[in-house]
Amino acid sequence: MDVRIAKVRKEFDRFPALHDVSLDIHSGELIALLGPSGSGKTTLLRLIAGLEMPTDGRIFFGDIDASEKTVQERNIGFVFQHYALFRHMTILENVSFGLKVRPRSSRPPAGEIRRRAMELLDLVQLSGLEKRYPNQLSGGQRQRVALARALAIEPGVLLLDEPFGALDAQVRRELRKWLREIHDRTGHTTVFVTHDQEEALELADRLCVMSQGKIEQVGTPDAVYDTPSSPFVFGFIGESSELPVTIGSNELLLDGRSVGLPASSGTSGPARLFFRPHDVELTDDDAALAGEVTASRRVGGTRRVEIEIGNNGQKVEIDLPFDHPAGQRSRISFRPRRWRLFDVKPQA
């Protein structure tokens, strides 16, 4: 089901949590709401669910205006960060709950409920554990029960709030892959909230990057990673290094010297240069970014080198292969292969 969020604003006690947010979620896609804490991503998810009511704006499920509907009427599946499993019920009872509480007219017979719950437990690979209680399961297993429980009511939209937030790194990676597989099999429109950019990039069809109650950028992982639309997105998604530069007549200048990067015509004056530490090439050219190595450390298969550049002692980081001879040098010249320029922050 399509979900359309139209100019939604949310205030808590006059404190704004979301400012006029609009977002189109396509039927069947897996979209990530990504942002630091306090960016409003969880608020947006809870608004879609109907667990919060918007101060202003509308939310559409398909063509139907769902803004005034209660959480029960929206038919959503919600997975909570801390699972929120009913501790006094067995796993099977947890998964059947949503079907058992239906009014008599739409409730399937008991045998059918049981059959469907068992089917879902099979889907989340927990067959055989149906008689256990939640506190007898591991964190990863509990989250899978929570997902099965949410899927049992055949929701139009599946909403997950930091679903892997409380799990350790190993389990997170497994569950991530597994969630993607489930999504590909069941095809539910799925929205999940995360502050983990790696998780979002790996899992989602599209990302919606949020900051301070606003949407910064919406796009595929490739688009967001390769062409970030703002300094915030560049800094938040992936590794980044930043330098203050000046746009000259047709090239970029640092402290009045050319750095060997062309500038698009039109604008001139101060700007912020962003690039990825791994997306650089070493050069002997004079027109380059050059500086003293101040620190160097091994990060997995690469060596991350911190370089002090320019008169103001700006520090940037670049990655070299761990056995590259330049790693021993005290002075390095390089150029970013890809980069982006942004305007200087108004207040800065």
Binding site: A49, L51, V71, Q72, N75, I76, G77, F78, F80, H82, Y83, A84, L85, F86, R87, H88, F97, G98, V101, R102, Y133, P134, N135, R142, R149, A150, A152, I153
Partner: protein, 284 residues
């Protein structure tokens, strides 16, 4: 090495023995001895006298009244306690801190004053008393007054037990139930109530014990009309003042027995459902 190792938080043997000995002596002196005295005194003149003194019309009336008062006060306080702790734990509203303080009020006020409040409210010189009397409703020196005073004195028990429990549990389970399509009523009966049932039961036991044993507040409002408005604790005191030791202690032993039954019930519950209690204590 290992044989000399002692956990840093363990005390040495003499200190341990001293602490255990002190607690046991204290318990024996202040708890077991009086209890034992009650029962020996009650049975001093033989089992026949004991049973006979419990079968006098006045004793029977006191027992019936006590049971009646508890049967009204406890359910009312259960409803009130669940409502109040639900409101405090699950909503944000103005005056919440004030409400929490108010709930504690009966604990901090002397029971005698709790009783006097009702005398002021419903007495002959008040506005409410004569007005109600014109409809033929007697509050003071009658059963309604005793029930009111008992409710007042015992209302913190259930709420006090539930508020921390419900605050700790938060609203996550309720949100999950609602998102799965349950209505408010289903959410309460199937999710909230099972989550708090042990705390609730414990609160009910304490509330009941106090409702049956309350003396001060009830003494003020009851008027002590023998056979009509005397509860068990009042009857015990009256019999004792009349130097009717055997009868007084017989009735007192019944009250003491109630305390013991409460204690045993609580222990049985903890033993029988210990795992479940531990599991529902915190978030899993």
């Amino acid at each position: 090495m290992a044989r000399n190792f002692r956990s840093p938080t363990d005390e040495s043997q003499p200190v341990q023995l001293l602490l255990i000995g002190l607690s046991l002596t204290f318990m024996a002196l202040f708890l077991v001895l009086p209890l034992w005295a009650v029962f020996t005194e009650a049975l001093k003149e033989g089992l026949g006298v004991y049973i006979a003194s419990l079968q006098t019309p006045d004793a029977q009336s006191a027992i019936r009244l006590t049971l009646l008062v508890a049967a009204i006060a406890v359910p009312l306080n259960v409803v009130f306690g669940v409502c109040a702790s639900w409101a405090i734990a699950k909503f944000e509203f103005k005056g919440k801190a004030f409400l929490i303080t108010l709930i504690d009020l009966p604990f901090s006020v002397s029971p005698v004053i709790s009783g006097l409040v009702y005398v002021l409210l419903f007495g002959a010189g008040s506005v409410l008393g004569p007005w109600l009397k014109s409809f033929g409703i007697e509050v003071l020196f009658a059963v309604p007054g005793i029930v009111l005073a008992t409710i007042f004195v015992t209302f913190p028990f259930v709420a006090r037990e539930l508020i921390p429990l419900m605050q700790d549990q938060g609203t996550g389970d309720e949100e999950a139930a609602l998102s799965l399509g349950a209505n408010g009523w289903q959410t309460f009966w199937r999710v909230t109530l099972p989550n708090i049932k042990w705390g609730l039961l414990y609160g009910v036991l304490l509330c009941n014990a106090r409702a049956m044993g309350e003396f001060g507040a009830v003494a003020v409002v009851s008027g002590k009309i023998r056979g009509q408005t005397t509860t068990m604790p009042l009857q015990v005191e009256m019999l004792y003042n009349e130097y009717n030791g055997a009868a007084a202690f017989a009735l007192a032993s019944l009250l003491a027995l109630l305390a013991l039954v409460t204690l045993v019930l609580k222990s049985v519950l903890e033993w029988r459902f210990g795992d479940e209690l531990a599991a529902s204590g915190g978030r899993h």
